[in-house]
């Protein structure tokens, strides 16, 4: 697609699993594309739908929510709540032309540095393929 296009991606990652995995990927010197900005949350269960909406309306081309595998949540069940919220958003946003591939939920455990790097790289490539969610020209959002 557009060779000039560099996706901007916001990732809400949980402190206990995916952030730790990101840390591991970094300290292990795994090569990752630099298009993702991480926001460290205590739990994916505290990712309010409005954070995701605000990110997309403010210029993010994709949003990743990533936390502990089922059964591993530090707060017992926050990731299950996140799953319902992401499902909800993926019913709402596509009605307004936001492709549901722009909002993804993944489980990446603390020891899975490899998986984190691969997840991020693959997501960036997918969004690069999808092209920009162009909100830049929209004065009223």
């Amino acid at each position: 697609m557009n060779q000039e296009f560099e996706p901007a991606i916001l990732a809400f990652v949980c402190n206990w699993c995916t952030y730790t995995a990101a840390d591991l990927a970094g300290t292990s010197r795994m090569v990752q594309q630099p298009n993702v900005r991480l926001v460290r949350m205590m739990c994916t269960g505290m990712v309010d739908p409005k954070y995701v909406i605000k990110a997309l309306l403010s210029g993010a081309d994709g949003v990743l929510v990533s936390g502990c595998h089922p059964g591993d949540c530090h707060y017992i069940n926050g990731n299950y709540k996140a799953r319902r919220r992401v499902k909800l958003l993926n019913e709402i946003l596509p009605q307004f032309g936001i492709d549901e591939r722009r909002l993804r939920l993944t489980w990446v455990g603390a020891s899975e540095g490899n998986e984190f790097a691969a997840t991020v790289n693959n997501f960036i490539n997918e969004i690069r393929e999808l092209g920009p969610l162009d909100v830049r020209g929209m004065a009223a959002l």
Partner: protein, 380 residues
């Protein structure tokens, strides 16, 4: 079998007869009051009023095609915590469904509330009710409205509220007592049904002549529902087409001035403090300039689309389609059309029907471990 009674309507029309029915009901020693729409100032808008003195029911007008606000939030006030006494509330089906949602969210209780549901053919929004009324005596106008509908005539040149024209729940569900208006001629009689053991006890004690159910009401409701469903689906298609991109959505909301009236009027928006009224949205001057520079221009007030999308995420699964959001909008944004279209999809995805059963938990208050595997991506 459930008690069904008939009250005869004489030459004075259905409104005084219903007032009389509610007066007798209020005489039951188990009830201390009744909330019902009352014309407090002669003409004008009938407002929900908590009446304890039976004599003051003489301006009550439960048939008025006016819907100034959803009384669900009011009944939430009346029932959150105990009054120590039992009272009845006369509500429209959509108000009852909204109240059920509030009960599920611990914002009210059915413990001391006797729900009386009115069959509801629809109502006018606030501006159009005034036009409908004109110079007429309001209670006579209410009777005329129902008479015209029963005869298949359009009651007035003004249109019913948009929400009502696409409402597929004209008959109340989950109540104690139902006042049946469909399928009969209410200028000759009205049938009233008990719909719960509590309603049975109250209605049975009144000693009114029983009526054999003839199935006419059910048939009339079914016909109305299928008509409404066609209109509703056409509305969904139209809204989807008009909001299929973010830009079109922004245009659809183009006259919104961020007054948040829709949220205030919404019976299921129950948060004490909404994030959109907090410091989070007290932006600094340099932020506005920064955003404007990034895009070249910035519409003020900001965050309009953001507000509506967030509200969809917060309440669309609970939306009962009452249309009070549109009624409260000062600028004619088609709010209920948009929210119902979104809600249709979110409610379907969680297999949720708001307000119909207390056993169905609001989708975002529960979860199961083994559900919605499709929502999780495997990108590695």
């Amino acid at each position: 079998m459930a008690t069904t009674v008939r009250i005869e309507v004489g030459e004075h029309g259905p409104v005084p007869v219903l007032q009389d029915f509610f007066r007798k009901l209020l005489a039951d020693e188990s009830l201390s009051g009744i909330m019902i729409p009352v014309h407090l100032f002669g003409g004008g808008m009938p407002m929900p009023t908590l009446v304890t003195d039976p004599a003051q029911l003489d301006r009550a007008d439960p048939l008025a095609p006016a819907f100034p606000m959803s009384s669900a939030k009011l009944v939430s006030r009346l029932s959150k915590g105990s009054a120590g006494e039992r009272f009845a509330v006369v509500m429209r089906p959509c108000e009852i469904r909204a109240f059920m949602e509030l009960v599920k969210l611990n914002q009210g209780s059915l413990e001391e509330v006797i729900l009386i549901g009115m069959d509801c053919p629809g109502a006018y929004d606030n501006m159009h009710y005034r036009d409908f009324l004109g110079e007429r005596e309001p209670m006579a106008a209410s009777a005329d409205f129902h008479k015209a509908l029963a005869e298949g005539r359009k009651p007035a040149s003004v249109e019913l509220a948009g929400a009502c024209k696409v409402c597929e729940h004209p008959a109340p569900q989950g109540t104690d007592i139902v006042v049946g208006l469909f399928g009969g001629d209410i200028s000759s009689g009205i049938q009233i049904m008990a719909a719960s053991p509590r309603g049975e006890a109250l209605l049975g004690a009144m000693g009114l002549p029983p009526q054999e159910p003839d199935g006419k009401r059910e048939a009339a409701v079914a016909a109305l529902v299928s008509e409404r469903e066609v209109a509703r689906d056409a509305m969904y298609a139209s809204v989807q087409e008009r909001t299929s991109t973010l830009e079109k959505l922004a245009q659809y909301l183009g006259s919104c001035v961020n007054c948040y009236n829709c949220r205030v009027a919404c019976p299921v928006c129950y948060c004490k403090e909404c994030v959109f009224n907090t410091d989070v949205f007290e932006h600094k001057p340099w932020q506005y300039l920064d955003w404007a520079k990034r895009k070249g221009s910035l519409k003020l007030p900001t965050d309009t689309v953001f507000y509506h999308l967030t509200r969809m995420a917060h309440m669309s699964t609970a939306c009962v389609g009452c249309g009070q959001c549109s009624n409260a909008c000062p600028n004619g944004v088609e709010v209920v059309e948009l929210f119902r279209t979104v809600a249709a999809r979110t409610q379907k995805s969680f297999d949720y029907q708001p307000g119909l059963s207390l056993d169905q938990a609001p989708p975002l208050t529960v979860f199961r471990e083994d559900e919605y595997q499709d929502t999780v991506s495997h990108l590695a």
